[in-house]
């Protein structure tokens, strides 16, 4: 996030797009609700009627995969009505003239048609966003990024941020809400094929040399390959060994059959995890690791805040902390390390990564965590980026991006679009929430959320067992009839892999720049299963999806006899 979570409560306007915030980030949603209570406007732009729409001033229900035409049209209105922050655009950005010409190809009427929304919505979003800027925040998550044009989607939001002068504004910014507890920290630490620790580019002069001097060994010059590329290379036989730490790749990656096939093609596979996951079952060596409650170290959260993680109990059996296992392995590879604890590893890391240099365990223990960049030990941390200038030292570049439809669209054979995501009471592949008692009452099994009109047309009822198939595979799942889903689209999570391996169905397309998989759109067909799971029907009878209120039968009857209309 460019800005801080707490700041959202002070925003003038919040645009939430591609984020089911009350379910995926409930505690961030609290700040959004607070902002609304304090008078801010909230605009939700999403294909699904998510719970947050209850708090929204305007819900713009765009079609799946039409983000770019919408935001380009919004930019079109802002520019043509001269609502943008001219001084900011002149002093801190480049490429405005070209961008202004580019968005002329995206008049509001065109976007309205492509996105399936009233043209008035485009004007509304543009005018309200411009009026509230600076100090208008955009929040997004995987609904924006998990598309084959995901990085362009992000750029289209970045364009708006610059037009409004919101990069570097308190309570403004363009804020990706990070999905996993330490996804920020994993990136910070340099676990990326192109960057050394602290986002120091491998190819930048002097960077590799600095690490070679610190680590005392020559380092490889060539960029590494991403996970997606690696899996293709495994199948081709070019990757022989793989070391996987703490990830259930087989379940979490798209087109699961492909991921499993790839991993089976390797010669030697090591998995370090806390459970014998479906991925660990394929391994040649499984290393038992400590869980978060047994580990010392740090997590970095969505707002770049480094916070201390402390061990409360000892790991079970012979399991060891990840840090200890890796330090041991270094020695056996002939490169013994001087660090022996997480604290010493952190000290080595921060001294090599300027953005984290001032963050020490001592400071973390004394305070509430520190937000990077924090260049020295007297620096208080950085609540929001780009305050006085773009932090990269370069101007912000407007990106003229074009509409690219999802790689797979609905057709006659596969007429429904499947989009996937999270729900509040389950998490990812369910290895953690699946073991918490009581959660089976909140969400007993996977459900396929389907619009009531579609369900009626296809002859499905709530709780029916369905077979959802795509060109890559099929799964059985219970129907959940709800108007959270728009017509022509259904929604599923992937938290119940034992019975419903959703990612057997999802698309194998991915973003051509970041290689993020297109989880948010694939074409499927839905049929009633020959064998009905009656247990599902009874188990979900009382389940409420977020934002749904199930009326007791008696009240429903009362409502039915009440006079209609005004």
């Amino acid at each position: 996030m460019t800005n801080s979570i707490e700041e959202l409560a002070d925003s003038n306007l919040i645009i939430v797009t591609g984020s089911n915030t009350t379910e995926a980030h409930p505690v961030i949603a609290l700040r959004m609700k607070r902002a609304v209570r304090k008078g801010a406007k909230l605009i939700v732009i999403d294909p699904r009627k998510i719970e947050l729409t209850k708090w929204a001033d305007r819900f713009v229900q765009i079609k799946i995969g039409t983000d770019i035409p919408f935001y380009n049209a919004v930019a079109n209105v802002i520019i043509n009505e001269k609502l943008y922050d001219e001084q900011y655009v002149n002093s801190r950005t480049e490429g405005f003239a070209e961008f202004a010409r580019h968005v002329q190809h995206y008049p509001p009427e065109y976007a309205a048609e492509v996105c399936g929304v009233p043209v008035e919505d485009v004007y509304y979003v543009a005018r309200e966003y411009a009026k509230a800027s600076p100090g208008a925040a955009i929040c997004y998550t995987l609904g924006i990024t998990e598309h084959s044009c995901g990085s362009h989607n992000v750029q289209s939001l970045g364009n708006l941020g610059m037009l409004g002068g919101n990069f570097g504004a308190y309570a403004g910014g363009v804020n990706p809400l990070r999905g996993q507890n330490n996804v920020q920290g994993a990136g910070d630490s340099g676990a990326i094929p192109t960057d050394l620790p602290g986002y120091q580019k491998l190819e930048r002069p002097g960077v590799r040399e600095k690490f070679e001097a610190a680590w005392g060994v020559p380092l490889p010059k060539r960029r590494g390959i991403t996970k997606i590329t690696a899996m293709d290379q495994m199948i081709k036989g070019n990757v022989r060994g793989v070391f996987i730490m703490g990830e259930n790749t087989v379940i979490s990656d798209p087109h699961a059959n492909h991921a499993e096939h790839a991993l089976k093609s390797t010669e030697f596979m090591v998995v370090q995890d806390i459970f014998l996951t479906d991925t660990a079952r394929l391994a040649d060596v499984v290393l038992p690791a400590a869980a978060f409650a047994e580990s010392d170290g740090t997590f970095a959260n969505s707002e770049r805040r480094v916070q201390r993680v402390r061990a409360a109990v000892k790991p079970p059996g012979e399991a060891r902390q990840d840090v200890d296992i890796l330090l041991d392995l270094f020695g056996r590879m002939g490169l013994p390390q001087s660090a022996t604890t997480a604290a010493e590893v952190w000290d080595e890391f921060r001294q090599l990564a300027p953005i984290l240099a001032g963050i020490t365990y001592k400071r973390l223990d004394e305070g509430q965590g520190i937000q990077w960049p924090c260049p020295d030990e007297d620096h208080p941390g950085t609540p929001y980026l780009h305050r006085d200038d773009m932090d990269s030292g370069m101007p912000g570049f407007f990106a003229p991006v074009d509409h690219i439809p999802p790689a797979e669209e609905a057709d006659d054979e596969y007429p429904i679009v499947l989009t996937t995501g999270r729900r509040r009471s389950t998490y990812h592949t369910g290895t953690q929430t699946g073991r918490a008692s009581g959660f089976e009452l909140l969400m007993p099994h996977e459900m396929c959320e389907i619009n009531p009109i579609d369900a009626a047309e296809m002859g499905f009822e709530d709780g029916d067992t369905l077979v959802v198939s795509s060109r890559r595979g099929s799964v059985t799942v219970a129907a959940k009839v709800t108007d959270r889903s728009p017509r022509g689209a259904v929604f599923m999570s992937f938290a119940f892999p034992e019975l419903t391996r959703t990612n057997d169905v999802t698309s194998d397309a991915y973003d051509f720049i970041t290689e993020t998989p297109e989880f948010k759109a694939c074409a499927v067909k839905i049929e009633k299963a020959a064998e009905q799971n009656l247990h599902w029907k009874s188990a979900q009878a009382r389940v409420r999806l977020a934002g749904e209120v199930v009326m007791p039968t008696k009240l429903k009857r009362d409502a039915a006899v009440a006079p209609a209309g005004d």
Binding site: I5, E6, E7, V27, Y170, Q180, N181, N182, A186, G187, S189, G190, A191, I192, P193, P197, L202, P220, G224, T226, K227, I228, R240, G241, V242, E247, F268, V270, I274, F275, L276, D284, V285, V286, L287, P288, A291, F292, A293, E294, R305, Q307, R308, V313, G317, A319, L326, A342, F349, Q368, G369, P380, P383, Y427, Q432, R435, F439, P517, R542, V549
Partner: protein
């Protein structure tokens, strides 16, 4: 002003917003029990007295929803411009040059009487032995501090417990004092609207639609009502049977999403027993259903991996650490020798600590010699 006044502020104390970059208000100067203190111009009297190190019971106050002024426990005497008034310190703004008295005999008597009135609404007398879990709660701490007598006033009719089968929140309204902190946090902070007050006066009761069963209500089971409840009327069912006097707390971070809410892991005899929010973290004590009720049981699962495993004859079998790690190192060295370092890939994790991720990328680059290091941020 004895030393007993200077106990640490209760768990609902305001968390300073260190990153609030808006211009600071000009400070006001006032005196609390004779001690000078400077506070921002929008501060309340309560902020001033807590900043000075004093405290008063605040049974209806949660900083997240702001002052309500209904319990009247925090009343103090404020003298400004030669005029002395008794005001609720949570709702009254601090005034320049004012003098605040928090513990005059009259105020202490007054608070004792209020507490005795509240005691007459509950079964507390019977349930008040010091080893009772509720003895930890804000209300009973205040009862002890002010020496309120449970039998000072005739006992009134009990409130009815809610026979609610949900597996998370125990609702024992026999202990309820109708402070409404639970309904305030539910309606004004979480904005779930799951619970409300039904009835008036002595008949007031916390109620949920429909049929008083939380599973059928809009409740999200965020657990905020439990953690703001000052009496122990609302408790975490998963913590039932845990003796609060024998537990330890470890400050750490929730293992789920990227918000990074602060939690305290509760351990008893070296075993995990539950979770409570960390009110001193930037998340200000807020959690969701996962952080509150699902953040520790998986750690204790019997299915956890306890020993290294090596595949022998096609089956994963128990091995020693030496065997397992030597095999990994040996095999990697062999692959590097035969096909070069780029035929190995390492995948780090968005779920484990940064230090381990740092080590794994260093392992890939320095020990193996490849930049084939990635993490699961894309999924």
């Amino acid at each position: 002003m004895g030393q007993d006044l200077a106990r640490p502020a209760s768990r609902a104390r305001p968390v300073p917003l260190t990153h609030n970059m808006k211009p600071l208000n000009l400070p006001l100067n006032l005196q609390v029990n004779g001690i000078g203190v400077a506070v921002p111009s929008d501060a309340r009297v309560l902020d001033a007295l807590r900043k000075t190190g004093f405290d008063v019971p605040t049974l209806c106050y949660d900083e997240r929803v702001g002052p309500k002024g209904t319990c009247r426990m925090c009343l103090v005497e404020v003298t400004v411009g030669g005029k002395t008034q008794t005001v609720a310190s949570c709702t009254s703004f601090a005034a320049e040059g004012s003098k605040v008295e928090t513990h005059t005999e009259a105020l202490k008597d007054y608070r004792r009487t209020l507490l005795e009135m509240l005691l007459s609404e509950t079964s507390a007398p019977k349930r008040f032995p010091d080893d009772d879990p509720t003895a930890h709660s804000e209300f009973y701490r205040a009862v002890r501090e002010y020496d309120a007598k449970p039998d000072a006033l005739p006992l009134l009719e009990r409130r009815k417990p809610a026979p609610d089968p949900n597996p998370f929140i125990q609702r024992d309204y026999d202990l309820c004092i109708a402070c409404y902190r639970c309904t305030n946090i539910c309606n004004e902070w979480e904005e779930a609207g799951a619970i409300t007050v039904s009835g008036r006066g002595q008949d007031s009761q916390i109620f949920s639609f429909f049929g008083n069963n939380l599973l059928d209500s809009p409740c999200t089971f965020c657990g905020q009502c439990i953690n703001t409840c000052p009496t122990g009327a609302l408790t975490d069912r998963k913590l039932a049977g845990v003796d609060p006097f024998k537990t330890e707390r470890t400050r750490t971070i929730c293992p789920y999403c990227g918000v990074g809410c602060g939690i305290n892991l509760i351990t008893q005899d070296g075993e995990l027993a539950g979770t409570q929010p960390d009110f001193d973290a930037p998340s200000r004590g807020s959690l969701c259903v996962k952080g509150q009720f699902a953040s520790w049981e998986f750690v204790k699962s019997e299915e956890r991996l306890k020993y290294p495993l090596i595949r022998k004859d096609g089956v994963l079998q128990r091995a020693s650490w030496d065997e397992a790690l030597d095999l990994v190192a040996g095999k990697f060295k062999q692959i590097i020798e035969e096909d070069g370092p780029d035929s190995i890939v390492c995948w780090a994790s968005a779920r484990v600590v940064t230090e381990a991720n740092y080590l794994l990328q260093k392992f890939a680059r320095a020990a193996i010699g490849t930049n084939n290091i990635d993490n699961c941020s894309r999924t």
